[in-house]
Amino acid sequence: MPWLSTLMGVSVLGALGVTLVRNDKLAKQFTLVVSLIVLALTVAMAVQFSPNGDKFQFAETYDWIPAFGVHYGVAVDGIALVLILLSVILVPIVVLASWHDAEAGKRSVRTYFSLLLVLEAMMIGVFAATDVFLFYVFFEAMLIPMYFMIGSYGGAQRSYAAVKFLLYSLFGGLLMLVAVIALYSIAGKGTFMFSDLVGTIQDVTTQKWLFLGFFIAFAIKAPLWPFHTWLPDAAAQAPAGAAVLLVGVLDKVGTYGMLRFCLELFPDAAKFFTPLVITLSVIGIVYGAIVAIGQTDMKRLIAYTSVSHFGFIAMGVFAMTTSAGSGATLYMVNHGFSTGALFLIAGFLIYRRGSQFIADYGGVQKVAPILAGTFLVAGLSSLSLPGLSTFVSEFMVLTGTYQRYVVPAVIATVGVILAAIYILWMYQRTMNGPTAESVKSLPDLNAREKWVVAPLVALLLVFGFYPKPLLDVINPAVKDTLSSVSVTDPKPAVPVAQEGQ
């Protein structure tokens, strides 16, 4: 069964279907059903995945544009599989969470949900693409639905944020296009299939140039310091649901691209640029955390924490040890859930009070204990409290990096401490203390919102205690990736006890 095409097909047909439904409420229910069907199908596919089987499974390859050597080629390895799972789990949650988001702006509700499903199809496609050209097509095309979601349904500065988001990403993408074309020409294979292109570029100077073309696009997408400035704007202006998908999934395309394309296609260049990337990552970790502490706007704060977290992920990718690589991949998934939960619960809060500013809140805990409690859990996961999922991945990244790069790993642990400050301080200012006058009558989470939060909190807890199923899938894929970069894990000189947790 062509699993991956089916997944995308169901999403796209669902998107078309939503535009045909005349009634807004029906459209929402329809979207929810479609996204749940996609989730069910994905789970059905995932259980058939054999972690120690072929590298790429569920492969489908058809000629798309023979004149350019372009294929419609999709397949998943462990890394792609968990990211697709992340996407399809988040979509129904976002649908449920966005139930009333689109109504605020008096704009077409159906369009919003239709865009959401189009985006879902593209998110699946971008992770599943095994043809570099197809990957590029999804990479660029998925900007458009997100652009409209931010621009049409976002906050007051929405059109500025949407345009900034689009132009940054588009510019990066166009640089990547040049590299894609050059890769094709220089490889001279007449095909864009990823597996045929691996290892074709031997010349190190060429590798470096092509690496830069890909890397800048991914660094903008991820976003890595200093390419991050679009993210706080876009995430703060986007409706909460779109922000979750933006930060939780779309940005992962950047770090996923680094792991899949930058490392495997240009191994020598990747090694050459590793010190630079590690440096940028460490700066991003510390900078993002410090700036997050200074934010007065909750959504911007969460966006900056993500800049810090993406520093960890990029560091893990480029540390090139199995532990760090697997940790980074796991981090991509866990960050999606924890930041997703933070954005959504903050969104619920903002929807109630009508303000994004921390200063407008205080003592919410007393009037809305469930909201505050779940917010705390999500926050604690974000600051990597042991027992919650992000801890495992952050720990793996740090120990994995420490094996090879001691100083960056040590500096990065500062980010963990800063994380405690920005999360707990935000929690303290909004949820604790005397109840502010304006939030006295704030209702607690309603049933729909509880349904949104419950699966996320459950996932945070489950993967916090038992990340093995994910790691079983991720590990072989990461090992395989690193072996094609031909690096082996360094032997630990001394048994490492990581500090700072």
């Binding site: 097509v137 652009y147 296009l177 040049v178 050059a182």
Partner: protein, 517 residues
């Protein structure tokens, strides 16, 4: 010299598409002369459409029957693969533009009446109409067909004039903003005449160098004639000026915004698509066939022109507030992208074929999207005609989502977003350029694309993210013709963006043998 002049042998069958169009144009003139006024429109429209369709059918038949390997009409006209492909493209685009013209709201009743005068009132009352539009258009299309097929410089010059003169007239016939329209016509005429003079003078100098105006013979002379280099270089430069003017490459672009703005929108659509296609065809033929041996000399110049054109088009478009002027600058920028394809020649035939087929594909993709975009411009109206000021388009996405959505789609295609035709057009050209070592040019090209994306996106922002003005423009219910044009253009933009292979194959086949010599 004892008195016998050989009658030239003309392959009428090969030239049939051109002859059909010219023939219909002449019949159109006779209709103007003899048919009663109330009947004219009813005769012109089917005549024009049928002749264009017939010419298209003939061109297809030629292509199916087998492309000739030798120039026709004593070497004056080359009906080869690229020429047939370009003919097909121009004929379809012209057909589509005629559907727009059918809606006669766009043309002035009496062009000779001074704007604002009593005569103008009179003509409005009488419901006067310039039905000459149709034969004029056919002459222009005939010129467009001949221009890219012209295998010697004199025929090219004649074709250039046949194409341009009717367009000068058509530019001045706008019903609204008549002064702007007349200004456009005069500007276009003066500058166009000037550039034609350049072309003709260049022809004369080249003749002085090579002793022939035949492109193949000029190319032969490049290797053998010595000591006349001044004539050659000045001549080649002047030919270049004439041709680059027609495609609106910088620094010869200044007419484009004015003319596009002032002309009746259907005519703008025809110029932006058909004329551009024809001019690129001619440019390719002159530079690749006639001056192919001189490429070491013209390539750096075109390199600079391409960069300048992309940058000027993309940057100046940002400051525009008139939708048609913005599309004009966008057309300039696209001219720059297309020039990359002209430069992207290599050492082998395969490399040249890939550059040429990329260019042909780009022309088709861009032509359709352009006609569609201008068709939409005709539909958004204010009290005083089309709502030309960009601010008037604010909030259109709310008022008529379908129209605004389609326009946004065309703009995304211009910007080259994947899954639209514009993406594959750009991709094809960039790929050929990278393969032939013009990577720096491609990098400038993508930066220009990013800048260009900004102003396309700005219009989308206006339409979708801004609130509509209280007295915003109304969207007229499109006539069947206009609706068909938008539909065809949108369909072409989607299909070429999702499944471009058939057209790429067609372009590749057409480009396979390159130009005949």
């Amino acid at each position: 010299m004892n008195g016998t002049i050989q009658a030239p042998s003309i392959e009428y069958a090969l030239l049939a598409p051109v002859l059909v169009v010219f023939g219909a144009a002449i019949v159109g003139v006779l209709v103007e002369a003899f048919a009663p006024r109330y009947l004219r429109s009813a005769i012109h429209l089917p005549l024009t459409l049928l002749s264009l369709a017939g010419a298209f059918a003939l061109a297809v038949w030629q292509a199916v029957k087998g492309v000739p390997t030798k120039p026709a009409a004593m070497g004056a006209v080359a009906v080869d693969g690229p020429a047939l492909f370009i003919w097909g493209t121009i004929l379809i685009l012209a057909f589509v533009s005629v559907l727009l013209i059918k809606d006669e709201e766009h043309f002035v009743g009496s062009a000779a009446a001074v704007p604002g005068s009593a005569e103008e009132e009179q003509s409005l009352v009488e419901r006067a109409a310039h039905t000459e539009v149709y034969p004029l258009l056919l002459f222009a299309v005939g010129g467009m067909l001949l221009f890219p097929a012209a295998n010697d410089l004199l025929v090219a010059f004649v074709a250039l004039e046949v194409m341009s003169l009717p367009l000068y007239l058509l530019c001045g016939l706008a019903r609204r903003r008549r002064l702007l329209s007349q200004e456009a016509a005069v500007k276009y005429f003066l500058l166009g005449a000037f550039s034609s003079a350049f072309f003709l003078y260049g022809t004369a100098l080249i003749y002085g160098y090579a002793g022939s105006v035949d492109l193949a013979k000029i190319n032969q002379a490049l290797g053998s004639v010595g000591g006349q280099d001044t004539l050659l270089y000045i001549g080649a430069a002047m030919l270049g000026v004439g041709l680059l003017f027609k495609i609106g490459a910088a620094p010869f672009q200044s007419w484009k915004p004015d003319v596009y703005q002032g002309s009746p929108t259907p005519i703008t659509a025809l110029m932006a698509s058909g004329t551009l296609v024809a001019a690129f065809g001619a440019l390719l033929r002159v530079f690749w066939v006639g001056l192919g041996g001189l490429d070491w000399d013209w390539r750096p110049v075109l390199y600079g022109v391409a960069i300048l054109t992309m940058v000027v088009g993309a940057v100046l478009a940002i400051t525009q507030t008139d939708i048609k002027r913005m599309l004009a600058y966008s057309s300039i920028a696209h001219g720059g992208f297309l020039l990359i394809g002209v430069i992207a020649t290599g050492h082998t035939q395969a490399e040249n074929t890939s550059a040429l087929s990329g260019l042909l594909f780009y022309l088709v993709a861009y032509g359709f999207t352009t006609v569609g975009a201008f068709a939409i411009v005709t539909m958004v109206r204010d009290a005083g005609g089309e709502a030309w000021h960009l601010s008037r388009w604010a909030g259109l996405g709310k008022r008529s989502p379908l129209l605004a959505g389609t326009f946004a789609f065309f703009l995304l295609a211009f910007a080259g977003i994947p899954l639209t035709s514009g993406f594959f057009g750009k991709y094809a050209i960039f790929q050929a350029a990278v393969a032939n070592g013009a990577t720096p040019l491609v990098i400038i090209g993508v930066v220009a694309s990013a800048v260009a994306a900004f102003f396309y996106v700005r219009v989308i922002v206006l339409m979708f993210f801004s609130d509509p003005a209280a007295d915003g423009p109304s969207v007229v219910l499109p006539s069947r013709g206009t609706a068909a044009v938008v539909g065809i253009a949108a369909l072409a933009t989607v299909v070429l963006g999702v499944y471009p292979q058939p057209v790429l194959d067609l372009a590749h086949t057409a480009a396979q043998s390159l130009f005949v010599r």
